[in-house]
């Protein structure tokens, strides 16, 4: 998932980075095909070059050596609302048929079964970043027909990158399967999604990570396996 996400980033783009796999994907892109990628964190670090994997989005390593540090009013007004962010990464407890994301509650808002953290910057990132990439593992719990709460609307979602395949929105806004990982069948993916998932007629095959990708991820970017499994 990390290498697939990293290939979506183009050199010179400005990307709003989350923690976890998106952070790994951005740092991988920076060290391979996109050396001029500009990483912005909602905490205010612009052009960050974290020398260790940040555990939180406000890690001190994001500040050291960055190009700019600004207050959060500037992050949201001067960068995001101004339209300067090309790519935003989002994840969620639930992603639905129309790529809406829920990070707020499972169950009803007034009496939640599970109270999740909430939006953070996700609502406005979904509205203002030009392309949204969602990175999430496949499971029927994660991909229901409808989310319980729309934290972030899906209209700017470019791709949903899962551990089995890639989804994109069709003309009606519905997510359809467009690419499969090697060895994965359409039936496998459909079993992990809570609606009648349609497929694009000609499915792409996802290229596996290169030896360089794997070396960078395992030896340089996440040697302690904070986010990488296996």
């Amino acid at each position: 998932m990390t290498t697939v996400a990293s290939r979506e980033l183009r050199d010179g783009e400005v990307v709003f980075v989350g923690i976890g796999l998106p952070n790994l994907a951005c740092n991988l892109a920076l060290r391979t095909h996109a050396p001029s990628l500009v990483l912005i964190y909602e905490s205010g670090a612009v052009g960050a070059v974290p020398e260790r994997l940040p555990v939180s989005i406000g890690d001190p390593a994001l500040v050291t050596g960055s190009l700019m540090v600004c207050g959060m009013a500037d992050v949201f007004q001067l960068f995001l609302q101004n339209g300067r962010i090309e790519v935003g990464f989002l994840g969620g407890a639930q992603v639905d048929r129309y790529a809406n994301i829920n990070t707020t509650v499972i169950g009803s808002y007034a009496k939640p079964k599970v109270r999740l953290p909430g939006s953070g910057g996700a609502a406005e990132i979904a509205i203002h970043a030009h392309r949204i990439l969602i990175v999430s593992k496949i499971s029927p719990r994660t991909f229901p027909e409808r989310v319980d709460f729309v934290t972030s609307p899906g209209q700017r979602v470019a791709k949903v990158i899962t551990d089995q395949g890639v989804f994109e929105r069709d003309a009606s806004g519905e997510l359809v399967l467009t690419a499969l990982y090697p060895g994965v069948s359409v039936a496998d993916v459909r079993a992990g999604v809570g609606w009648e998932l349609r497929s694009r007629p000609a499915l792409d095959c996802v290229e596996p990570p290169t030896a360089t990708d794997l070396r960078l991820l395992r030896e340089v970017l996440d040697p302690q396996r904070l986010y990488l499994k296996g």
């Binding site: 939180s56 406000g58 890690d59 001190p60 009013a73 609302q81 109270r115 509205i127």
Partner: protein, 294 residues
């Protein structure tokens, strides 16, 4: 002024209280002192409640929480918060980060509300009726609005201040400037008290001026387990450990007994944990400096 005196004098039962700092410079020392003084019925406001509000909720200080992201950053859930919400025991007023930032900006500018292009297509306005919209008088566009947030008291941790309260911060700046200017009273807690000449030697670094500061408190390591850039690193191990502590109400109560109720102040908290300094003290990385001459 001691933190004990500052909290006794400026933080009252029923106040709307802000302890700001986005991951960086969160005043755990002040939060612990408020727990020790058993303040009640507080409306706690912060973008990210973090461990400090989880502890204050567990200790019974909070009536209501105003927030935008309530998780344990990089780890998972805040379990005292979740128990309170899932048990219907805590009133919530929920925004996104931009919404909270905009509320402080309006409060700081003494405007009744702030406009932002946000929330279209989300369920947040249904969950929080205080998120409204307005038609722009110039373009006709519909824009979201959020009401000003003017706290009774804001507490900010900082690297240094002079005795009058001119306060300098570097590293992540969060919304501390807006929160302080929006507030009726401001308590500044610092790693170091410095001479006014130090402040004057680098005025661009001053975030909060003495004119809006009610009290200056010196409390080294007062942000731990949060961090102070250039002083000490974030205690990520403690944030990870909080998962198990906060999941178990009995373990959480033992934590509060040992590290909050059972000690008089932050100096004792640090004396009790001599390994912290060795593990977390920041290495030096000093900037080149600038020429302020004319």
């Amino acid at each position: 002024m001691s933190l004990k005196d500052a909290v006794a004098r400026f933080v009252h039962d029923g106040d709307t209280l802000v302890i700001e700092g986005f991951t960086h410079l969160i005043s755990f020392a002040a939060g612990h002192e408020i727990i020790r003084q058993r303040r009640r019925e507080l409306t706690l406001c912060r973008l990210t409640p973090d461990l400090i509000y989880d502890q204050m909720i567990a200790a019974g200080c909070a009536k209501k929480l105003v927030f935008s992201w309530a998780g344990n950053p990089g780890v998972g859930s805040l379990h005292a918060f979740r128990r309170a919400v899932e048990g219907g025991k805590l009133e919530l007023e929920e925004y996104s980060h931009f919404g909270m930032v905009a509320r402080f900006a309006a409060g700081a500018a003494r405007l009744p509300f702030w406009t932002l292009r946000d929330y279209a297509g989300t369920d947040l306005p249904r969950a929080n009726p205080r998120i409204k919209s307005i038609t722009c008088p110039y373009t006709g566009e519909s824009l979201a609005t959020v009401p000003a947030l003017n706290p009774d008291v804001t507490i900010v941790h900082a690297q240094r201040a002079d005795p009058q309260g001119n306060t300098q911060i570097w590293g992540l700046l969060g919304v501390q400037k807006e929160a302080a200017f929006a507030s009726q009273r401001v308590i500044v807690v610092v790693e170091e008290l410095v001479d006014e000449r130090v402040i004057r030697s680098d005025p661009n670094r001053t975030l909060i001026p003495a004119a809006i500061v009610s009290a200056v408190v010196v409390e080294p390591w007062g942000a731990h387990p949060s961090y102070a850039q250039g002083y000490y690193d974030r205690d990520n191990d403690f944030y990870v450990a909080w998962e198990a502590i906060s999941r178990d109400p009995a373990a959480l109560a033992r934590y509060l007994d040992e590290f909050v109720y059972g000690i008089p102040d932050r100096a004792t908290y640090i004396e009790q944990q001599p390994a912290l300094a060795k593990r977390l003290t920041a290495r030096a990385q000093v900037c080149a400096g600038v020429n302020y001459g004319f």
